[in-house]
Amino acid sequence: MKRNSVWVASFTASVIIAIVLLVAGSPSVTASEQPSAANAAVNIDNFVFGPQTITVPVGATVTWTNKDDIPHTSVSTEGVFKSKVLDTDEKFSYTFTKAGTYPYYCTIHPKMTGKVVVQ
C-alpha cells in the first residue's frame, strides 16, 4: 500500500541517516578496538587494576576509579604520572600525549601492577 511504502522508505532513510551520523561521530572506530578511545577507564577493585593492561591511542585520557573499600594509588614506575591517594569512589585521570608503554603500580599495595600501552 502506498502509505506503508512511504512509511517504510522514510523509516529506512532515518535509520541510514542515524548510522551515518553514528559512524561520523566516533572518529576512531576504525583506529582501535575501543568504542570511544578518547577516554578509557580502569577500575580498581579487589586489589586489582582492571583491565591490567589497557591499550589507548595517543592523546587518550585514562581514568582510574577506585571501587575497592580500601584506598589505592596509581603511580607510574618511571615517574610519568602519580595519583593522590584514592579512597573509595575517587578518581584520577591522566592524558597520554606520547606513544609508549607505561607500567604503574599501587604504592600502598605494590603487588598491584598495571600497564598502559599508548600507540
Binding site: 586489589f47 575497592d68 573509595t88 603500580y105 600502598i108 599495595h109 605494590p110 603487588k111
Partner: protein, 340 residues
C-alpha cells in the same frame, strides 16, 4: 572438648620440659587465657607455662615486665567490615586497662590511620590518652605513609628515630628494635627494609651479648606468609641474619589482621590481630581486603597481644586475647571445668 582438640594438645605437650605443668595444669591455663594462645619462648623452644598464677603480684620484681602490642587501628576506616573503628579501639584500651598487671608500655605495630589524615591521628591520640601505660612506641604501616611519604607520621611519632622512622631502646635488659618496612615500596614487591636501615640494624646489634633477648617489631611480617598478597618483606633475610646469634629473638608484626606464629630456631615470629577489622586467611578469598563477619562476631576477631618477659627463663610469653571473650569456644578452652 573434642577428641581432635585433645589429641592436638597431647601432641603439643609431648616435647614439654619438666617445668611442673602437667596436662591438667595446662588445660587450666588455656581456660584462663580463653581463646588466647599461651606460649613462652625459651631459647626458641615453645614451652607451656602456668604463668597466669601469681603473675600479677610478681610483675616488676627482679626485672620481669610486660607490654601490650596493638595493631592496625585504621582510624578513619568506616566501611561495613567495621563502621566504627574508634569504638573498637576504645574497647581494646578498656581491656588493657582492666588487665590485672599494668603493662610497662604499648607497642603499636602500624596502620594507626586509614589515610594518614591529621584528624585520624588526632582521634587515635585522643583514645590512647586513656590507656594505663603512658609510654607508647610506634612503627608506621603503609596507611600511615600516604601524605608526603610519612612526614606527618614522623612529625607526630618519630622523634629520635632515623630514616623513615627506625629506632631501638632497652627495657630491663631486653633490646627492642622498631623497623620500618613500608617506605619506598617497589612495584611488584612486598615489604622492604632498604639498605640504609639494614646497615643501621647491623651496627645497632653489634657488640651486644648473645644472651640479650631481642624483640624486633615492624608492620609487615618479617617472614614470608603469602607473597601474592604482599605478606612478607623482600629483604628480611638479611635482617634476620643479624639476629641469628642471639639466644632469644621475638618478632612482632601486624598488617595481616590475624594471628600467625612461627618458630624457627631461636626466633619466634608472631602477628597480631587488628583492633579495626579482620582479613581473610591466605588464599581463602579473592583478595586480602577487609573481611565482613556478623556484627556479634566482630569483637571476637579483633584483639590485643599481651607480652610478658620473665627473667627466670629470659623468655617472652605472648598471649593474644580477642576484644570479646567467647563463652563457648571450640579451641580447647572449654567451659573452664579444667582437665578431662
Amino acid at each position: 572438648m573434642t577428641d581432635k582438640n585433645k589429641d592436638l594438645i597431647d601432641q603439643k605437650l609431648q616435647d614439654l620440659n619438666n617445668d611442673g605443668v602437667d596436662r591438667r595444669g595446662f588445660l587450666k591455663c588455656m581456660a584462663w587465657a580463653g581463646t588466647g594462645l599461651v606460649w613462652t619462648m625459651s631459647g626458641g623452644i615453645p614451652v607451656s607455662r602456668a604463668f597466669a598464677k601469681g603473675h600479677g603480684k610478681d610483675a616488676g620484681k627482679g626485672g620481669d615486665f610486660s607490654f601490650v602490642q596493638i595493631s592496625d587501628s585504621h582510624i578513619g576506616f568506616n566501611k561495613p567490615a567495621n563502621p566504627d573503628v574508634t569504638a573498637t579501639l576504645q574497647t581494646a584500651i578498656t581491656k588493657i586497662n582492666a588487665m590485672p598487671h599494668k603493662p610497662d608500655f604499648i607497642i603499636h605495630t602500624g596502620d594507626l590511620s586509614q589515610l594518614s589524615k591529621p584528624s585520624e591521628f588526632d582521634t587515635l591520640d585522643q583514645v590512647l590518652k586513656g590507656v594505663s601505660a603512658k609510654q607508647i612506641y610506634y612503627v608506621p604501616g603503609e596507611h600511615d605513609m600516604l601524605s608526603d611519604n610519612g612526614e606527618q607520621f614522623l612529625q607526630r611519632y618519630g622523634k629520635g628515630t632515623k630514616g623513615s622512622g627506625w629506632y631501638s631502646f632497652d627495657q630491663k635488659g631486653v633490646h627492642f628494635v622498631g623497623l620500618v618496612n613500608v617506605a619506598n615500596l617497589k612495584a611488584g614487591g612486598m615489604g622492604s627494609l632498604g639498605h640504609e636501615q639494614l646497615e643501621w640494624l647491623e651496627d645497632d646489634l653489634k657488640g651486644r651479648s648473645a644472651s640479650t633477648p631481642i624483640v624486633l617489631f615492624a608492620h609487615i611480617p618479617l617472614w614470608t606468609i603469602y607473597p601474592d598478597w604482599g605478606w612478607g618483606t623482600d629483604d628480611s633475610e638479611q635482617a634476620l641474619s643479624y639476629v641469628k646469634r642471639f639466644g632469644s629473638v621475638t618478632v612482632l608484626n601486624g598488617h595481616i589482621h590475624q594471628i600467625m606464629q612461627k618458630v624457627e630456631g631461636k626466633v619466634s615470629f608472631h602477628t597480631a590481630m587488628s583492633t579495626a577489622f579482620p582479613q581473610p586467611a591466605p588464599g581463602t578469598a579473592s583478595s586480602a581486603g577487609p573481611m565482613k563477619v556478623p556484627a556479634d562476631q566482630l569483637q571476637r576477631v579483633l584483639g590485643i597481644t599481651d607480652v610478658n618477659y620473665l627473667v627466670s627463663g629470659r623468655s617472652l610469653a605472648v598471649v593474644d586475647s580477642p576484644l570479646a571473650d567467647s563463652g563457648s569456644s571450640v579451641s580447647g578452652s572449654g567451659s573452664g571445668a579444667g582437665g578431662r
